[in-house]
Subunit: 295 residues, 2 copies
């Protein structure tokens, strides 16, 4: 239970314009607004990067979800790229003059990695941890994953609100609609709206005693040559094994020459976003996490 | 056995610049040319659409694999789009002045559909049917699929050569390298080169008595509204079921409203390219085929 009542929730899609799952759902919610209405708060929809959606590209000039750190948003000279301008527009909408106009953001993403139903909470605020508890109680296959940066340090759209999360479903290719991932995302959106509504109405919700979370601790790039060309691919034994333990010495990459590269870490980790299409250019073959229990 | 000897084979990739499987393999073959050398013929490599590869897009201006019909190639005014110009360059390379400079094309593609190891022969020439026989004998999971158009009517790059095929592996997202599909494609390239070499040397190769082929007979688009927006997705029971029988009345699409649309055909068909990312813009949700036996 949290003292502050939620007045406004934003369901956001198209932060990346080729992640069709959320985009299709938000269009559906715009057509049938009653689906996301609840009695105790208002729900908005936002298509974050309409130009990228139109072009079926992740972005037009640069990744919109790296344009939201406070310094960039308040820099009036940072207006050359479309996404920098769009970030300022979205910021003015969600928190004009640093006043919170939207309390909860639900940011819909998809991944070519086998992310299943992943929740990336905006922060470790009790409200958000309670949300993760509730979603895990509703759907035991939900995984909760924490990034490395939060709040003012985070360049992500969702950092504009104190409460909420990103939903990351997969594996689904970019530019493809899959019924399975659409259904999973829609179920999660409804469960989140139910959680906010129940919290506003001071209703008790079922939550587990222990919450398992995956805390990002770093990332690994593909082996490359001096020109930056890939020399290896994710090892077939690791492909689609997101959230499974990776032990020191386990196969991690398969070189073009046929050689297997094994994991050089000293402890067991749990890789996620394995072979995500959008992360090649970020030099990320996978993100490593530690499995933790919060009680 | 065919009277004509093959002098030159082209291994082609990047006809679509975001289909990384073939692109990565051709780069590997360019680095290690011995891999694709055989004693009885010369093997070239060709990166068909380097600008699209650089941009990680299917194409820059238009689909290159729709630029190769004879009329367009001989139209000197058709030079506005990059792909129309590039098609003329490739045509001049593979068959200058209508003289065959390359006898066999192996054109490497990938699909977001569950195409497994699909061979799309250039034509029903005995040489190409023998190739399909041989590949099926090597790898029983190989599927042979015939398009609707051949020869001068076909706008595809591979129609520039009399012999050869496209290889279509999947499911793999665009802009992703998957070890499994890389291995499958590489195995098939080697088997094709072996077939050409054996044929040149008049060696007998094992072939099955019967060849099963899938002949394209048409396609189905997604249900759309008047503005062209998708109103449905491929039904979860049909997703990834490429090459499986689809009977009249079977579920085919799932509407946003939850309603199931069933297949209205009068006979059993075998859909392929189900939910291929690149085919949304072509208004193709799947291509329907008939299963046939050639003996």
């Amino acid at each position: 239970m949290y003292s502050r009542l939620v007045q406004r929730v934003a369901v956001v899609a198209g932060v990346h314009g080729n992640e069709w799952t959320g985009i299709h759902l938000v269009k559906k919610f715009q057509q049938f607004p009653a689906l996301i209405m609840r009695s105790s708060f208002e729900t908005l929809t936002l298509m974050a990067n309409p130009k990228a959606v139109e072009a079926n590209l992740r972005y037009v000039d640069k990744d919109l979800n790296r344009c939201f750190n406070k310094q960039d948003l308040s820099n009036p000279e940072l207006i050359v790229s479309y996404e920098d301008r769009r970030a300022k527009e979205i910021s003015a909408l969600l928190c004009p003059n640093d006043k919170q106009n939207v309390d909860v953001v639900i940011d819909l993403h998809s991944s070519t990695a086998n992310m299943g139903m992943t929740i990336l909470p905006i922060s470790k605020e009790p409200f958000n941890l309670g949300l993760c508890d509730y979603l895990s109680a509703c759907y035991p296959e939900v995984r909760v994953c924490f990034g490395e940066r939060y709040g003012q340090e985070s360049p992500m759209l969702r950092s504009l609100a104190p409460y909420g999360c990103a939903i990351e479903v997969g594996s689904v290719p970019q530019g493809v609609l899959s019924a399975h991932q659409l259904q999973q995302t829609e179920m999660l959106v409804h469960a989140i709206l139910d959680y906010v509504d129940a919290n506003n109405q001071r209703k008790l919700l079922p939550t587990p005693n222990n919450l398992t979370v995956y805390q990002a601790i770093g990332s690994i790039d593909y082996p490359r040559d001096l020109a930056g060309e890939l020399q290896a691919v994710v090892h077939p034994q690791l492909q689609f094994q997101d959230y499974k333990p990776l032990h020191p010495g386990d196969p991690i990459f398969l070189m073009s020459t046929g050689e297997t590269i094994s994991f050089q870490g000293k402890t067991t980790v749990f890789p996620v976003f394995i072979n995500e299409a959008a992360y090649y250019e970020k030099h990320i073959a996978m993100i490593l996490t530690e499995k933790q229990r919060l009680s």
